[in-house]
């Protein structure tokens, strides 16, 4: 249907195949058909989840398909979250479902048990993703028992099943160690989870006494973008002064985020980095004091490793400045 401009489209049903579904039809090659397609903007799905989930539930109850294919969502975060929810809702009704996600898609956190084939970062990998989804979907719909993720080619679901190996663990472990020491490839039997669970910080005891730090992944920068912050795939973060500022003016600040329609944020940067509202809270005494700088990066298609490092560095800068609470504003 389109891109960001139609992200708020509410759920709508179409008979037969729409969009990438047309490729699916050819991949099915007579071994099934695309009965119906549910279309929904990923913005709508994430902003009005109750309504979106109900639409999916009702659609599945009515159609009772043999298989649901959601996406593929590639590295698109909101889309990945939506696809994972669709897989979960299908699972609730015992309907097999498959999606396609880039291994770093945050949708994997929503419902790790979803069957997801690994997809490329962008829609340029559409054909390969659909082929893999169709193949896995056929096996799931056929009711056969699936083997482990690494054998069947789907992303690990965090499930371990007991089974027998030809050789005892000690021998396998020594083989792995020898391979590792010789610089040869080996495959661990206990992979480390790709995502860390982050323990929430302790609650702020008294916000009226606390120093608050502002952090944004919304790429609000001084006009002219002095540090050349990128629109996407940024690896760094920047800090900019806030002292003596009551609000962010469109004449002095702009939004360089490339993951959403940023004109509105350029016209009023406070919508993303709410300095005006926080200053009002400061005057009311609701917070003690606002730190005299803010930290900023572009939260768009950023590699997980960079996110972790940026997060650590920003936290460290805030602590050094005596900040006791950080407001990370959603974009």
């Amino acid at each position: 249907m389109g891109g960001e401009e139609v992200a708020d489209t509410p759920p709508q049903r179409h008979e037969g195949a729409v969009g990438p579904g047309r490729v699916l039809e050819s991949l099915l090659a007579g071994g099934g058909e695309v009965a119906t397609t549910l279309v929904c903007g990923d913005g709508f799905f994430n902003e009005q989840p109750d309504e979106a989930h109900e639409a999916v539930r009702a659609w599945l109850e009515e159609v009772r398909p043999d298989l649901v294919l959601a996406g593929p969502a590639f590295a698109a975060g909101r889309y990945g979250v939506a696809c994972s929810h669709v897989c979960r809702l299908a699972g609730d009704q015992a309907i097999p479902a498959v999606t396609g996600l880039h291994p770093e898609n945050p949708g994997r956190l929503v419902y790790p048990k979803a069957y997801a084939v690994p997809a490329a970062r962008t829609a340029a990998g559409m054909k390969e993703a659909l082929e893999a989804m169709t193949a896995l979907g056929r096996r799931l719909a056929g009711g056969g028992e699936l083997g482990p993720a690494e054998v069947e080619g789907y992303l690990p679901r965090g499930i371990r099943r007991p089974g027998y190996r030809d050789r005892p663990g000690a021998e396998r472990a020594v083989d792995m160690l020898v391979a590792k020491l010789s610089g040869e490839p080996f495959r661990t039997e206990i992979p480390v989870e790709a995502y860390d669970a982050v323990a929430p910080a302790a609650p702020v005891l008294d916000l009226a006494q606390a120093t608050l730090g502002l952090v944004t992944t919304g790429a609000i920068v001084p006009k002219g973008n002095p540090d050349r912050l990128r629109r996407a795939s940024e690896t760094r973060w920047s800090r900019y002064p806030l002292e003596a500022l009551e609000a962010l003016g469109a004449d002095a600040y702009e939004c360089v985020h490339g993951g959403f329609f940023n004109m509105i944020a350029c016209e009023n940067p406070n919508l993303v980095l709410p300095l005006d509202a926080v200053r009002a809270l400061e005057r009311e005494g609701a917070i003690g004091r606002l730190a005299d700088f803010y930290c900023c990066t572009t939260g768009n298609d950023q590699r997980l490793a960079d996110c972790v490092r940026n997060g650590r560095e920003i936290a460290s800068a805030l602590v050094d400045a005596g900040v006791e609470a950080a407001l990370l504003v959603a974009t």
């Binding site: 969009g19 990438p20 047309r22 970062r121 962008t122 829609a123 340029a124 996407a232 795939s233 298609d301």
Partner: protein, 104 residues
């Protein structure tokens, strides 16, 4: 690539044919280049726009490539592209374009 741009490119090809049309890309992000290049050669990979399933096979170049730069009035280039050229990762763009055209 958004449906409107696809529609404009399709209209140009419908009018002039695809033999004398070259697509000059301007995006800096390698992912965006990959999708845009695929769209005007093999068809919209997202199957969202008018070029879904339409294989135009158009040649694709980038405004930051030297062969394109040479053909533009230096003053115009400097005004319109100069700042971008200084700030973007030009080598990443070149490398993405080579990959897009299957030049290794």
């Amino acid at each position: 690539m958004d449906p409107e741009s696809q529609s404009q490119i399709k209209a140009v090809v419908d009018r002039f044919g695809n033999e004398d049309v070259v697509v000059v890309l301007g995006a800096a992000d390698p992912d965006a280049l990959e999708v845009a290049g695929e769209t005007v050669t093999s068809g919209d990979p997202a199957y969202a726009g008018p070029l879904a399933g339409v294989s135009l096979g158009l040649p694709v170049v980038h405004i930051l490539e030297p062969e394109v730069k040479e053909q533009v009035d230096p003053q115009v280039y400097s005004e319109q592209v100069g700042l971008l050229e200084l700030t973007l990762d030009v080598e990443a763009v070149h490398s993405a374009m080579r990959k897009l055209r299957g030049e290794g």
